[in-house]
């Protein structure tokens, strides 16, 4: 049970949602966008999240689209991971998303919510980082389309009151060969020890990782090493030498063990995609 009360709003348009957020803030409230809502419900219960004005975005049509327009696939931020998985318009996203939480929970967890979540795995962002996706964001300053790599640095850098509406991904990335594996400490469900996603486009590898650092990332420095000439060992050593810091060192796995697992995953990714 949540140990606090909130008002609950269900705007039917983006304009209404953004204006509501601004209005509630002016009233001294702490409004929060609510998509799957699993974060507020689970973290709120143990006092790690709070809102007194919840704005549920699931009734906004733009947040629920899943369709091609020209060469771009648009996916609404309020679609559940299960909905995306069942329709399977983006196989790499399906594969990565289908490893998040468990099947039933994925019926509630949404794409936008996972990308914007506090919890640091945010695995569903990996395919979008690899595929140069564009993000449609709406806020007090209007609508903008931003390249994901310009706005996702460790986390999605939204300003207060801004809402992720849709992701747009070009078809050629969706059809590109990919590799992805989620390694857990044990069992087949749960948070990752390391999740790797890799994609080959224009003869070059791209790689994005969750679970290694306290944020998901794509590393162009590591990719530069992986795309060099040379033995696999040299290329992987090079990639491992330029990883972001800190490397997680916790009960899921020591930093050393994570790097050992990552080395093997990079090897598997190169073999699969070469």
């Amino acid at each position: 049970m949540l140990p606090f009360d909130f008002d609950y709003f269900q705007p039917k348009s983006l304009k209404e949602a953004v204006e509501l957020f601004r209005y509630l803030e002016q009233q001294g409230k702490q409004p929060m966008f609510f998509s799957g809502g699993t974060e507020l419900i689970t973290l709120g219960r143990i006092d790690l999240a709070f809102s007194d004005a919840v704005i549920d975005i699931k009734n906004i049509p733009e947040c629920k689209v899943m369709q091609y327009s020209g060469d771009y696939l648009f996916i609404g931020g309020a679609l559940s991971l299960t909905q995306i998985e069942e329709a399977n318009p983006f196989p790499l996203l399906t594969k990565v998303a289908s490893e998040v939480a468990d099947h039933t929970a994925r019926g509630k967890i949404t794409l936008g919510g996972n990308i914007c979540a506090q919890i640091f795995y945010r695995e569903a962002v990996l395919p979008l980082l690899l595929a140069d996706s564009q993000l449609l964001i709406v806020g007090p300053e209007g609508v903008q389309t931003i390249h994901i790599n310009d706005i996702f640095q460790q986390q999605l850098k939204l300003k207060k009151g801004e809402l992720l509406v849709q992701t747009a991904t070009e078809r050629r990335f969706i059809e590109a060969p990919f590799f992805t594996v989620k390694r857990r400490q044990q069992w087949d469900t749960g948070y990752p020890l390391i999740t790797i996603a890799a994609l080959k486009i224009d003869q070059e590898f791209r790689v994005a990782i969750s679970g290694l650092c306290p944020f998901p990332f794509r590393s162009q420095e590591a990719e530069a090493y992986l795309n060099r000439q040379g033995s696999m060992e040299e290329r992987i050593d090079g990639a491992l030498s330029v990883l972001p810091k800190p490397i997680l060192d916790d009960v899921e796995g020591s930093a050393q063990y994570r790097l050992f697992v990552l080395r093997n995953l990079l090897y598997d990714a190169l073999v699969a995609l070469e």
Partner: protein, 155 residues
């Protein structure tokens, strides 16, 4: 304004209740409607004991607010009567203490409806959402497979 009167469609009936907007559906079903089939376990989305069906799909009712269920068809274990999966659980003895059973049955019921030709991969993917502390997993899997093989799916 934090309390709201809402109308829910539960097990084929229209029910009107007053809830806090922050009440989970699990809490409202049990506390306001006396539907104690959905069980509280972890309250964190991990165990599946609270699983119900919403618009035909499995849902962990501890991960949903009661106010989010307005306009949706909610089915709890109390809404199933002598379905093939319930009979199969009895025939295969797919429980021991029974605490996880309503959640497992609701998940299996939805699986059989959504994927009447489910293969082993799909069965595993869906059933991983529920935990059985008494480890009746083999019998539960047998129960699902017996329905897939022999009978009309889902009832």
């Amino acid at each position: 304004m934090a309390s709201k009167t809402i109308t829910l469609h539960v097990n084929g009936e229209v029910r009107t209740i007053t809830v806090r907007a922050s009440d989970t559906l699990l809490f409202a079903l049990r506390g306001k409607l006396g539907l104690t089939g959905p069980k509280p376990g972890c309250l964190n989305g991990d165990c599946g004991a609270c699983t119900i069906n919403v618009d035909g799909w499995p849902m962990k009712s501890c991960l949903m607010l009661a106010v989010e269920a307005v306009g949706k068809e909610v089915v709890t274990i109390e809404g199933l009567h002598d379905t093939p999966i319930q009979r199969a659980f009895v025939e295969e003895f797919a429980f021991q203490c029974g605490y996880c059973t309503p959640g497992f049955i609701m998940n299996c019921h939805s699986l059989l409806k959504q994927h009447p030709d489910a293969d082993d991969r799909i069965i595993k993917e869906w059933l991983e959402s529920n935990i059985c502390r008494c480890t009746s997993y083999i019998e539960i899997e047998k129960a699902v497979k017996s329905v897939l093989r022999k009978e009309e799916p889902g009832g």
